[in-house]
Symmetry: C7
Subunit: 86 residues, 7 copies
């Protein structure tokens, strides 16, 4: 087996850093990861929530249900920080 | 591993305080957290329920099914207490 | 940890009393709680079922699947008993 | 804890009697309960199936998947046997 | 407890006989049950698949995922074999 | 209990042969089964994917999530190989 | 039992190589697999995300929730790399 970066190792390395989280529904969040557990429930600080209609909401601290998370992007700063190439 | 704030620690710190809960569907609740369990089922008191059509309903005490919870915001006081920045 | 009211304690205290149950779909029920189990499956008596179209149906005794329950409100007497404030 | 009627006790008491079952989708069934297991999978006899379009279908014996059951009503005889009061 | 016909006993008795299976979506199947397991995954032979648009497809042997099964009807021969009474 | 063909036995017998797989959504696949596990995750080779709009895509090797599989048909060669009889 | 390529063996062989991942919703990703766990949560690097509207987004590293994955294609390079034959 090649040397791997395990999923929970990646999450652990993100503690203290900005991440971008895409939920199963239409919500997305960027924030500083301050903690997580084995179910990948996550605590974020200094959060921006991105609604599907383009609205943004600032939140100081949130807890996200790991079941509802689709994708985590380390260092991400929300939809505006990604590079569209199409 | 950096020092963390674990998800259940955050929930535990919220006992006795106001929180804002966003469910998987369109319902949102603000209330005082009076208890929770390992499935993050939660008991809230002095609750305001926010419907998707803008209506609000006052409820004295409720139990929420943890499976249906998408996000918890400590100190939150419902949609009106957030800062829209878009 | 602050003194808590655990979710199953709240359900247990409701045995013998009227409760209001909101299901994941559009159904709501008020009735007297006569029993429950660890999955929060619940037996209700003297039940009124509230359909989304405003219709009400009287039922003597029902068993509700705990997986499908979104919210329990102690002492509730259905949508008509809540205080709309918006 | 008050004296309770546990959910599985209620189901057990219904063996040999008519029950009414509401599934998560739009189907409803009335029939004689002839058996069940811990997942509340149920065997019914002399069944009437009620479709959402008002059609009824007679079935001699069926097995229902407990995961898909939303509500059980003892002694029920389908939508026509309930009392609408709105 | 009254003498029961347990769900898995019913399925076991159906081995070698025609059954009718209704899936959670819109598909229905009739066929000869040739095997099943504890998750009620089922192997059927000489199968007719009934689509929601009225089309029928003949299949020699299939395996159905038990999670997706809503209802099993012993001796059933598809929608055409039921008695509509409404 | 009659002599049975257990579901996992059927899958095992299909290793090395063409199968047709119908997913819970609208996708269907035909391919040679090269492996599976207890969750019925499956590896297929020389795959044709059938989209709901009639398009076909050739894929050399794929892994399918067993949770998402609705039906497996041994020897099947996709929608075109079935016999419509309605 | 014929010699098999087990699903997790296939995933393990893909570590260090390009893969194409189709999620349960409409998202698809191509990237280099750098790690996975028993739930088939996966870490990808040098990722292109393909939206259903044809847009592409470049992402350096992502973690995908295994529950949400429908299909993995080794060596795949996204929708443009497949051969449409219909």
């Amino acid at each position: 087996m090649a040397s791997q970066l395990l999923p929970l190792e990646l999450v652990d390395k993100c503690v203290g850093s900005r991440i971008w989280v895409v939920m199963k529904g239409e919500k997305e969040f960027s924030g500083t990861l301050v903690g997580f557990d084995d179910y990948v429930n996550m605590v974020l600080e200094d959060v921006t929530e991105y609604e599907s209609n383009g609205e943004q909401v600032k939140l100081k601290k949130i807890l996200l249900n790991g079941n509802n998370i689709c994708m985590l992007i380390p260092g991400g700063d929300g939809p505006s920080g990604a590079t569209a190439v199409s």
